[in-house]
Every structure is written in C-alpha cells, then in structure tokens.
Symmetry: C2
Subunit: 219 residues, 2 copies
C-alpha cells in the first residue's frame, strides 16, 4: 500500500511538472534546474551568469533553501526577479512548489529562468520540475570520487559543471578523471570546468546556455 501512495504522489508531481513545462514553453522561458552539494557554489555561479547575460536576456531565479532568504537577497541585488522557496527541512524542490510560485511570476518577461535547488546531491535528482535542462555542479574540494558515488544525480543530468577550478592546486581532484567517470555512467551528458570566482571557463558555460536555450525554444 505504501508503494501505491508513493506512485500516486509521483504521478501527480509528473502531471504538475508537465504543466510547468507547458508554461515555460508558452512564455519562451528557457529553464534550468541547478543542483549540487551544499556549498558547491550554485549562487556564485548564478551571480556571474546573470552579470554576463543580463544585457541580452531577461533573467529570473527561483531560489530553494531549507531556511533563510540569503541567496535570494544576493541575487535581488543584481536587479533580477527572484523568489525564495523555504522548504523548512524538505530536502528537494518539487513541481508543485514551482507551480505555486509561477502563479505570481512574470514569466512572459523572462527569457531564462534558473531554479536553484536545495543543496543536496541525492534527493533533488529524482524530481522533474518541468525544466528544459538539468545541470549538476560539482566543486573540486568535494574530491574525485563523487560521480561514481552519487550516480543517481550525475546519471540524470544534461550537463556536469566542475566549479572551483581555482582550488585545483590545493585539493585532490583530477578533472580528466571526473570527465571519464561521467562518460562511464552518462555518455550523452556535457562536461565543463569553471571557476565562478576567477571567471575561468565561464565563456563555455555561457555559450552552452545560449545554445541550449535556442535549441529548446526553436528560436
């Protein structure tokens, strides 16, 4: 019986995700679900991404956190439409939380929407929010074994971005090894290495976003 309850909840979530996706497409808003461990640098990556893109694109952000609106505050300072969802202990966002926020969201004025998920390398991976692309961020201090150890996340994402490349001299992380590990479990996925802090590699990430947005929205 417990299995049926779970199945029912999931199929409702999938219907809501499909509704979100229809809204994103209708409004022409390319949507990225950004996931990672706590502290991998999701918010800093978004700060740099917004700064790079906001002269050409109208950007908006939905921020997920267990508690506080610190991350939303950081992004509002850049002048982009940002809403904060606090899950109060919940370990991932789901499609219904997003649908609730979209009700009051100016999606028609949005070219790119970033959803910053809860810092968690496990739970968010299983939940479709209706996004066009799922991106996993992995930071170099987390170490070289995370892709095989957390396959549920990396197997299901369209792109893995290795962040904090500036710390490579001080930590045990081999970028080529990570790329190889990703290819083993998810050969179709993209792979990039950046430092949001120094700006290194950010051009590749920005190009990826533009290209995928074009492809997804058939512009």
């Amino acid at each position: 019986m417990k299995i049926n309850v779970k199945k029912d909840v999931l199929s409702r979530q999938n219907r809501v995700a499909a509704g979100n996706r229809a809204r994103f497409e209708g409004a022409g808003a390319f949507t990225v679900n950004l996931m990672s461990s706590p502290g991998a640098g999701k918010t800093m990556l978004l700060e740099q991404t917004i700064t790079a893109l906001q002269k050409d694109f109208k950007i908006a952000v939905i921020e997920g956190d267990l508690a506080t609106d610190r991350d939303a505050e950081r992004l509002r300072r850049l002048g982009v439409q940002t809403v904060q969802i606090n899950t109060v202990g919940g370990c991932h966002l789901n499609a219904e939380m997003i649908a609730r926020e979209l009700a009051a969201f100016d999606l028609e004025q949005t070219d790119m929407l970033f959803i910053e998920n809860i810092g968690n390398l496990v739970c968010p991976s299983g939940y479709d929010l209706g996004q066009h692309r799922k991106v996993a961020l992995l930071s170099t201090p987390e170490g070289n074994d995370k892709i095989p150890k957390y396959p549920v996340m990396f197997r299901r994402t369209d792109l893995t971005v290795v962040n904090k490349a500036d710390l490579l001299p001080y930590v045990d992380f081999d970028v080529n090894r990570a790329k190889e590990d990703l290819r083993n479990i998810n050969p179709a996925a993209g792979f990039l290495s950046v430092s949001a802090k120094t700006g290194d590699g950010m051009d590749d990430w920005i190009s990826w976003l533009k290209r995928e947005a074009e492809q997804c929205l058939n512009r």
Copy 2:
C-alpha cells in the same frame, strides 16, 4: 492518512534505534553517527582517527553510501572491522539498516563504532540510529553560511567539526563566525576546527572522543 503511515514508520524506527542503543551499551561500544555534505572529508577524518586511536581502542566502522564500497575499502586497509551499506539511492541511513548489520557484527570486540552516514546535510539529521553522539562535519570550502542555512542538521548534533582548515587561506570561511552561528542555534553543542589532511587540531577531536566515550559508558 499519509501522515499516519509516516508516524508509524518513525515510531518503528525509534523502537529499533532504542534496541541498537541497548546493544551498543551492553557491548560497551561508544557509537558516533558522523554526518556531512558529500566531500567534506568524513572518510579521511576516520582514517586519521583510526590511526590515532587503534593502539588503545578496538575501532569498527559502518560505512553508508548510495553506491560503491570505496570508502569501506579505504578503512579496511587500516585493519579495522568495516561493513558497507549501499542504500541504492536512499538519502540517509536508518536504524533498521544498522540493526541488520549488527546481527553479524562482532560488537563485543568493539570499543568505538563510527557510523559514516550518506553525504547529505539534510536527510540524515532526522534519523536516530541508536548512536551515543551525533557529529556534523562542515568543510571550509562549503562557505560560511551553511549553519544558518541547514539548521536541521546543526541544531540536532552534539559536536560540529570544521574540517579542511588547511584551505582557509584560499576560501571564504570565518571560523569564529561559524562558531557564533552554531552557538545561536545550538548553544549546548561543541565546536572544533581541524585539518584531517595536515593533522592540525586532531588532538582536540581525539580528546573529545575519549572524554565522551568515558562519559557515555560510565567507565
């Protein structure tokens, strides 16, 4: 109805946790539930801890991971009794998983048992495994905002250990600020800063373990 199912599952887990606790106490095995984000350095901290303690204490480890037995392999090399639990996507260990392993475990030959939980700063916090002490590891590259942003974890732990102190010159982390943040949400909890890599601060951690073991087992 879903609430009742959840309540029932939790109360069963709590009964199993109480059973685990009775077994730990009966065998005189001081037990620590070690939790953190992925890549904060739980396994390396355990490697150094085992090396420091194993001449005086019989150490054993229960390793939790979504997939692979890499961490258990690292610890077995040190000659300690180690079992690996793979949760196959499950985001935390629970008391029943531990109870199943204890059935075949030589607990009478164990003075200290470390349970390395799944790398996740959210889900493991709510599950009693029957441990004597809960320890949260927080690594400096994760950044200074994690204690207020993940209060469910840090509010419920007996000790927070800041790891990767060797990276402090290269990352944005203020140890005093973290200590203050912890005091605000959990004034009774302990706080230590270490580098498992360089050995810095490890003496304080080892002393804490010895003192708490003595206190818990009334030796």
